[in-house]
């Protein structure tokens, strides 16, 4: 168990490709954090730098305040599970035993620990089978057991659930979460799947173009995304934005999108200095929709109703604008007039540059 600190780390592949740009990140001892971002955002590069598989172009890596930048993966004693399921041409038992065998752990101890790790992963029944002949889900369990069988300083999980079937994915997600709770091990989880990041981790580092955009708890990322990218990236679908200007009418301050406006009198003080060019952000699930006319709500035309799990995703047209609303139950049908309200406490306001104001 260690605390990991990346201090202003930059990595450039070749001469020009900047994969990681002045990234600073602190992973608290015993916590499970996720690196989340679209493909090519630098999350795997970050992971490989922490693992010691890649030496950063500049910046330092600390494990418990000890500079390990120049140390190899073996010296750092990290364990890693890859997206590509790595299985050796051996039996399941021999696969899990391998890290212990190369460390010359006594035989009895090895057997005990392999059996324990296999039990944790629920693969005790296949210990004597050839690992390569198993299905991808079980193979990834073997790879995870091989990582958990020794006591590393940190577990690095690089999109470990991407190549397994949905059923096993749920099962492994639960196992990883439970193990982390029991072992209090520092774990870093790389994923592009926000559902995985949101359910598993205590904190999430959202990355884009080699930069760490926001490092926060899942709740904070959802409720107060620092900029429009995080707001759009987190959520399914993500937050939607409307260009608005701040207007005063009858003593009230309104964010006016042309087709509709939202009363923000209570927070207008913070907005005035940003001028007229603002972005109003709201999550589809925070929008209120009714088929009945209500005071203070504005009317829209429903152009599409999609079913997403147990929710309905409505596409609502208002002039040149398109609004997505996600609600549990509705009697609004395609072609109907729908009455809409943006609750002011759920509205987020961003500057023209996309930074959160309120």
């Amino acid at each position: 168990m260690v605390e990991i600190f990346l201090d202003n780390v930059t990595h450039i592949y070749g001469k020009e490709v900047k994969a990681l740009d002045s990234t600073t990140l602190r992973v608290e001892n015993g916590s499970l954090i996720a690196l989340l971002g679209p493909s090519g955002c630098g999350k795997t590069t970050t992971m490989r730098i922490i693992a010691g598989l890649l030496r950063p172009t500049s910046g330092r890596v600390y494990f418990d305040n000890v500079d390990v930048t120049e140390r190899s993966s073996q010296e750092r004693n990290v364990a890693m599970v890859f997206q590509f399921i790595v299985i050796y041409d051996k039996t399941v038992f021999e696969n899990i035993e391998f890290p212990l065998l190369v460390r010359k752990v006594p035989k009895e101890e090895r057997i005990k620990r392999v059996k324990h790790a296999a039990e944790l992963m629920g693969i005790s029944n296949v210990l004597n089978q050839q690992a390569r002949k198993l299905d991808p889900g079980t193979r990834q369990k073997v790879a995870l057991a091989r990582a958990f069988v020794r006591q590393p300083t940190v577990f690095l999980l690089d999109e470990p659930l991407t190549n397994v079937d949905p059923q096993t994915r749920l099962e492994l997600r639960k196992i990883i979460k439970e193990l982390q709770k029991d072992l209090h091990q520092t774990m870093i989880y790389v994923t592009h799947d926000q559902a995985e990041a949101l359910t598993l981790s205590e904190k999430i580092a959202v990355m884009k173009d080699g930069k760490m955009i926001q490092y926060d708890t899942p709740e904070a990322l959802y409720d107060k995304p620092k900029n429009t990218f995080v707001a759009w990236f987190i959520g399914n679908p993500g937050m939607q934005f409307f260009d608005v200007s701040l207007k005063q009418s009858d003593g009230a301050f309104l964010l006016d999108a042309g087709e509709f406006s939202v009363d923000v009198s209570n927070v207008s003080g913070q907005l005035v200095k940003y001028g007229n060019e603002l972005k109003l952000g709201i999550r589809p699930e925070n929008i209120q929709v009714s088929s009945q006319k209500k005071v203070g709500w504005f009317n829209t035309k429903c152009t599409m109703v999609e079913r997403v799990g147990n929710m309905h995703l409505l596409t609502l047209g208002k002039g040149r604008l398109e609004i997505k609303a996600k609600i549990k139950e509705t009697d609004v049908r395609e072609g109907d007039t729908a009455w809409v309200q943006f609750p002011s406490e759920k509205v987020r306001v961003y500057s023209k540059a996309g930074e959160l104001i309120i």
Partner: protein, 290 residues
Amino acid sequence: MKKISFRSKTLFLALIPMIYLYGLVIYPFASVIYYSFFSYDIGGTPVFNGVGNYIQLFTDPQFYRTLGLTLSYSILAVGAEFLFGIGLAYLLVHISRGRSVATSILILPLVMTPAVAGIIWRIMFDAGFGHVNFYLSLIGIPGQKWLIRPTEAFISTVIVDVWQWTPFVTLVTFAGLTTLPVELVESAYIDGASEFRTFKDILLPRIRALLYIILFLRVIDTLKIFDTVYTMTGGGPGTATTYMSIFNYLNLMTFYHIGYGCTIAAFFIVLMNVVVTVLSKKAGAALFAA
């Protein structure tokens, strides 16, 4: 005139492989089997001899000596080729510079005609003016009677085979290793394995099927070795390097024992078939498991 239908034309074309199979494979093979039951020397008339030739073969001490020599040659040469070939592949994987130069150099023995290689090595191994003894003398080792003494001659032929075919093992093994995912190496490394252990325990087992195919090809090739050895030693001194193919050739083409030569050939065909079947089953099983 009756028009030839498309179907007839197709059937006729389909006959070509059959003609090839019959004319170039089955007919010569059947002739070999046929004449193996005859006492037939050149100039004479074939006289049916029953299994007489086979009795002669299995009671011929020279046959057993030849068989033993051929098997020893095959085991030693293929063993050394695997040891050095895989060793060189390991080095090739781990060098970061000059890989293409190394590959170009490695390929040189492979592209040489075996008969020419035999002649060159006959000169190289010459006890009087050969290069091998000259370079040995430079490091203080006295000259050896390479192609003059039986054991030395046998070793020389093994050395030449190893020289010519180790690069083949190296290059194919190396090609196989380059197809393996990098995560396999990284995972083993993170698990704490040394580079050598990763190579031995993780990477080589992964290309097992390929290694079986190399083994298969090399064993067949060494069992039927002819040209290099014939041009280098002519099967001598005495019968020290008279391997199966040379033994067969000498009986057929030098002593003109057509019947007996065919018996040797028939036995050789059966032996090769057994080897091919066993090794291809192994390779097939490994391929299927991969």
